[in-house]
């Protein structure tokens, strides 16, 4: 019998230099958390800038916040939470061969919800352009400092969208590779790493939603 038909799931997922899959999994997970910490630090710089300018122009940021679309922001927040829940199921299901296809279905659910998020974001951006909410000479709000708020809005949401696009690519790649080799899928640490990345995308959006979409509501 050829090696291709006799190798175990652990052998399929094991990579050099690790000697066993448990160590490989732990190393990948730790490396992923270290990467996520650097990502948090990256976004922290933007959030710190936002905080400083908001303390400098509190009224302008409050007024500008009221011009973002709570409908799109809230719906997208709910969509990402559902996708995170779907992704949260994947690592615990994927390790059981009998639940492998269910885990891959959850991956596709998460990826499709990610695409739905981007589609809604596209509609929201179109609406923002129509309302002249892009910083520049035609900017709609005349309060001093409001353009700064929308400079943060465009930068943060665009950078987040790039992260989401990368996440969708990683999730789709994992689902396709897992369908091709279900035994590899049941053991590979790539499942955990992808789920962690997806979680980060949701964590960042949770903060983005609160600082960009909730100010300026009510009286």
């Amino acid at each position: 019998m050829s090696r291709a038909t006799t190798y175990s799931a652990e052998e399929a997922a094991l990579r050099e230099p690790w000697e066993d899959i448990a160590r490989q999994r732990q190393a990948v997970e730790m490396g992923m958390w270290a990467f996520l910490a650097s990502e948090i630090l990256f976004f922290t710089g933007i959030f710190a800038g936002y905080t400083i300018y908001r303390s400098t122009y509190p009224e302008a940021f409050w007024v500008a916040g009221g011009h973002t679309s709570l409908f799109y922001g809230g719906t997208n927040t709910a969509i990402l939470l559902v996708s995170s829940a779907a992704m949260g199921i994947v690592p615990s299901a994927a390790r059981w061969p009998s639940l492998g296809s269910f885990a891959r279905t959850m991956l596709w659910v998460a990826a499709l919800l990610g695409i739905a998020f981007l589609v809604l974001k596209g509609f929201e951006y179109a609406e923002d352009f129509d309302e002249h909410l892009f910083p520049g000479p035609d900017f709609e709000i005349h309060e001093r400092g409001a353009q700064l708020f929308f400079a943060f809005y465009w930068c943060v949401t665009a950078i987040h969208a790039i992260h989401l696009i990368i996440g969708i690519g990683l999730v789709a790649r994992l689902a396709i590779a897992g369908t091709r080799d279900p035994r590899w899928f049941s053991q590979t640490p790539a499942v955990q790493a992808t789920a962690l990345y997806w979680g980060l995308v949701d964590v960042i959006w949770t903060i983005v939603f609160v600082i960009l979409y909730l100010p300026g509501r009510g009286s």
Partner: protein, 106 residues
């Protein structure tokens, strides 16, 4: 033990789909309620500072739910949790320094 019998043993120990889904589904429900509460609170006639503080508190709860349940931090040991916390610790240090200046300005 043959590979086929190992496979059968694994399948017999495997949890059901319902048991794998139950906990994330409950947490999702709670997080959606928190989201609704956060949106509702944004319209309350209270001072801006109070609204922002509440919104950030709800965001922190949501992040805890995502990190501990969806990212499975609740199953991990101290070392892994420490790794996971590093980003937030740096964030806290940066904001402490920012507020020690801007928070003290009149």
């Amino acid at each position: 033990m043959s590979r086929a019998s190992t496979q059968r043993r694994q399948d017999s120990q495997a949890p059901t789909i319902a048991s794998v889904v139950r906990r994330p589904a409950w947490v999702l429900l709670i997080l959606l309620v928190i989201l609704a509460a956060n949106i509702g609170a944004a319209f309350l006639p209270v001072p801006h500072f109070a609204k922002t503080a509440f919104n950030l508190l709800m965001a922190a709860l949501t992040i805890a739910g995502i990190a501990f349940i969806f990212m499975e931090l609740d199953h991990k040991g101290v070392t892994m949790r420490l790794f996971a916390a590093t980003g937030f610790i740096w964030l806290a240090i940066l904001f402490l320094l920012i507020f020690s200046d801007y928070g003290a300005r009149s």
